[in-house]
């Protein structure tokens, strides 16, 4: 499910199920369009950035073409519904190694497929990457290798503003200025605007830093050669959308017990007002959380991940495990399934989960169940009883018992002692809980009996996981950090050495009629059978 679906849904009133429940039919219908919109917006963003020299996504430079001959050209195979093609099997040979090449359907897949293998091209000494800290402004350490500098500004309570009567002697600019030599030993002066606390990158890749000074803010500033191991990874391509706000998607990685790792999708809720970052005004950190997913391998078994990064090339989420396995995720929101029971045209009482994406218990202490609420959304008739049925991912059916706490396979109704004589206002919504101990879709069916009719409403909560598209052994022992260089190259750092990899995707597309084959990667020769 696309992140953009909620943006389209937010065009509808807040009370609509389409807007507040992503498992609704309406939301799932909008997802059809939102997925295309999200793909296009990512493509546009990459296209726009590709005309800047500071872009990290350099794109693809080469394709490799083979024209099949004779019986290698695909043939039509008649089927009951028409025909299909018999595609060839392609194996690429590079030196003494052979690689099975997989067919993909579209040019987009050919250009942005996840890697199937990586190739070590360089390793350099890394160690401590800190170049400069505002707490020790006279001490400058040199970057280990030419790389754009990461600048992290935090804890500022004041940003000077020339229009403020207290700051009139200031320029009104908040900047950090870095003087030094770039990768080719050219003298450069880099001015980086710092409009607010946050994370910034220098425009130049610095080989040597000679002087750094800041102006216009009073927070702490840490400059490192290459990325800092921050508590979150920002996705530059996607926006996290809630039903009342949206913001850049931030991915927080945290470790659970028993070698499990989780990723939480969050976005910042910013405060408006001209008194922001002024003396005496406390800045309230406000981060909204949409979902937490457990990270899994290709078989959907939990794995431990020590660091994550979003690829600027194919926008996949990369994670590295302690044993050097590289997991690649096509990270998005999980798809909701069609409920097993149809809703009635009229619904009165609905089930509202605290969030539509529940978290798999991380076993850090006692597993915490997540709450849901009943909501008498449309006050029509006095209610006699309701029945809340829950279908777990393993198809176990349970009913909420009258104590409103326990679940049992025995059907149960939650009725009012004065059923049939009560007023509309007598109904009191209540909270109940579910421990989401299975990955997958948890379906809730609420049957409401009134004096007039019986209605059924449904909703679904997904206990989600991110399942790896592929896993590749990098051979790096005890990795600590994964990131992408200023040219989009994959770097894995184990604290002492940074390893640079080339990524390869063994995929091809074929034009069936002519036998033209385009390969994503180059080989000495390809064998077609």
């Amino acid at each position: 499910m696309s992140f953009r679906t909620q943006r389209l849904a937010n065009r509808f009133p807040l009370w609509t199920k389409l807007r507040r429940d992503p498992s609704s039919f309406g939301s799932r219908l909008l997802d059809t369009f939102a997925e295309g919109l999200e793909e296009e917006s990512i493509t546009v963003q990459k296209l726009v950035e590709s005309f800047y020299l500071t872009t990290r996504s350099l794109g693809k430079s080469l394709l490799h073409e083979v024209i099949l001959e004779g019986e290698d050209i695909p043939e039509r195979v008649a089927t009951a519904n028409g025909f299909t093609w018999s595609y060839p099997t392609i194996v690429g040979t590079l030196g003494v190694d052979t690689f099975a090449v997989t067919k993909v359907d579209t040019l987009t897949d050919l250009l942005t497929s996840p890697s199937t293998r990586v190739e070590l091209i360089e390793s350099v000494t890394s160690g401590d990457r800190t170049v400069w800290e505002s707490t020790a402004p006279t001490t400058i350490s040199q970057p280990q290798y030419p790389e754009r500098l990461w600048i992290v500004v935090s804890g500022s309570t004041n940003y000077t503003n020339k229009t403020s009567h207290t700051d009139r002697d200031k320029s009104g600019f908040s900047t950090i200025t870095i003087k030094g030599l770039d990768g080719e030993y050219q003298k450069v002066i880099d001015h980086v605007d710092i409009p607010d606390d946050g994370i910034y990158m220098s425009n130049f890749a610095f080989r040597e830093v000679q002087r750094i000074y800041t102006e216009g803010f009073n927070g702490n500033c840490v400059v490192t050669g290459g990325p800092q191991d921050l508590e979150f990874e920002k996705d530059p391509f996607r926006v996290l959308v809630f039903d009342d706000m949206e913001g850049p998607l931030k991915l927080y990685l945290y470790q659970g017990a028993s070698n499990t790792s989780f990723v939480t999708y969050k976005a910042d809720r910013f405060k408006l007002g001209k008194q922001y970052r002024r003396p005496g005004i406390e800045v309230i950190e406000d981060t909204e959380e949409l979902a937490t997913f457990i990270l899994c391998d290709e078989d959907n078994d939990p794995v431990e991940i020590v660091s994550i990064a979003v690829s600027p090339n194919n926008t996949f989420l990369y994670g590295i495990s302690p044993d050097g396995l590289l997991y690649i995720y096509d990270h998005t929101l999980p798809e909701f399934v069609t409920p097993s029971v149809d809703e009635t045209v009229q619904t009165y009482v609905e089930i509202h989960p605290v969030r539509p994406y529940a978290q798999y218990p991380d076993n850090l202490g006692s597993p915490v169940p997540e709450p849901l609420w009943t909501r008498y959304a449309r006050l029509r008739y006095p209610i006699n009883w309701i029945e809340i049925k829950r279908i777990a991912p393993d198809a176990t059916i349970e009913y909420l018992q009258p104590d409103r706490i326990t679940w049992n396979t025995t059907p149960a109704r939650i009725s009012y002692p004065t059923a049939g004589k009560m007023k509309l206002s007598d109904w009191k919504d209540f909270k109940f809980e579910t421990l989401y101990d299975q990955l997958g879709a948890w379906e809730y069916i609420c049957t409401t009996k009134t004096e007039i009719d019986t209605t059924v409403s449904t909703t679904t909560v997904i206990c989600g996981s991110l399942q790896a598209v592929t896993a590749i052994d990098t051979g790096v022992s005890s990795p600590e950090l994964i990131y992408f260089s200023d040219s989009g190259g994959l770097i894995i750092d184990n604290g002492t050495t940074a390893y640079a990899f080339n990524e390869h995707a063994d995929v091809y597309i074929i034009e069936e009629e002519t036998g033209h084959v385009w390969l994503s990667d180059g080989y000495d020769s390809v064998e077609v059978t």
């Binding site: 073409e65 990768g183 000495d524 020769s525």
Partner: protein
């Protein structure tokens, strides 16, 4: 079943657009990271019609970037006028440019300065300087590919209206000021600047002090230290370079001793190329 050899197709890319704006084209099978480096270098240090850029630009056009070999730092504060010179076939280093060179090596002589290692060793032998190695593979390179360059350069700076100005470069010499009244009498020490027209120049740091308020321009010669020594895959030198005879001529026994007078095969090739482009001869 058949075996095919794939043909490479260059895909258009945003970098191609940026390269075209700077007259740099992607080479066959060049990686985009390398192409980006070349464009960035061209962007920050663009080609022009100076001899320096004529020496630098062939490497980046051909996709083989220059390599910084080492950085020579002056650590003796008594050294005020150092100089490093690489000609077509010789390497010179002076601790004091007004005297004979402290190092003079022939880049074509296998017993002298044929390898970069010979030059680094000679520089390391001087205690007044520090040599910072930047290319860890320098032992495997020939010194004849060193970029032809001279640390002695000229510059002109605008003087701000102040009693003290710092010039852009240090190790300055031969300075001339556009205002002769402010800079009338040079003093050896800053405390001797006591009357109108007195001035003092800190040669090492390029700081100019004066009794009167400075303005106008300062034109000066400076020695570009710390000095970066560059190794070029594609080297450019002038055919009228003072030491070019060591490269393009073999020795003959003359009355004054052995001299480089007879064009060798390399020199013949250069002269023939020159005549092909410019076939005029003496008297034509």
């Amino acid at each position: 079943m058949a075996t095919y050899v794939p043909k490479t197709i260059l895909l258009p890319n945003g970098l191609d657009e940026m390269g075209l704006k700077r007259s740099i084209t992607r080479l066959p099978e060049e990686r985009l990271g390398s192409f980006k480096r070349r464009i960035l270098l061209e962007h920050r240090d663009p080609q022009d019609n100076s001899f320096m850029q004529f020496k630098k630009s062939p490497c980046r056009q051909l996709g083989e970037l220059e390599k910084a070999v080492c950085r020579v730092n002056i650590i003796d504060s008594d050294i005020t006028n150092p100089r490093l010179l690489v000609t077509s076939s010789k390497f010179y280093f002076w601790l004091d440019a007004t005297t004979d060179p402290d190092i003079e090596l022939e880049l074509t002589n296998r017993d002298n300065g044929y390898f970069l290692e010979d030059i680094i060793d000679a520089l390391n032998a001087l205690t007044e300087i520090d040599v910072e190695i930047l290319d860890s593979n320098y032992q495997y390179r020939k010194s004849l590919q060193l970029r032809v360059d001279d640390s002695s350069k000229s510059a002109t700076d605008l003087l701000l209206e102040s009693y003290e100005n710092r010039l852009t470069y240090g190790y300055v010499s031969d300075y001339k000021f556009s205002d002769p009244l402010v800079f009338m009498t040079e003093k050896a020490n800053p405390e001797d600047v006591t009357v109108s027209g007195d001035f003092y120049v800190d040669d090492i740091n390029g700081v100019v002090l004066s009794y009167d308020l400075q303005h106008g321009y300062a034109t000066y010669t400076y020695s570009d230290f710390p000095y970066l020594l560059w190794w070029q895959p594609v080297r450019v030198f002038e055919l009228n370079d003072p030491d070019v005879d060591f490269l393009i001529k073999d020795t003959l026994q003359a009355d004054s001793g052995e001299e480089h007078r007879l064009l060798n095969s390399l020199g013949t090739r250069y002269v023939n190329e020159l005549l092909l482009q410019h076939p005029l001869e003496w008297g034509d």
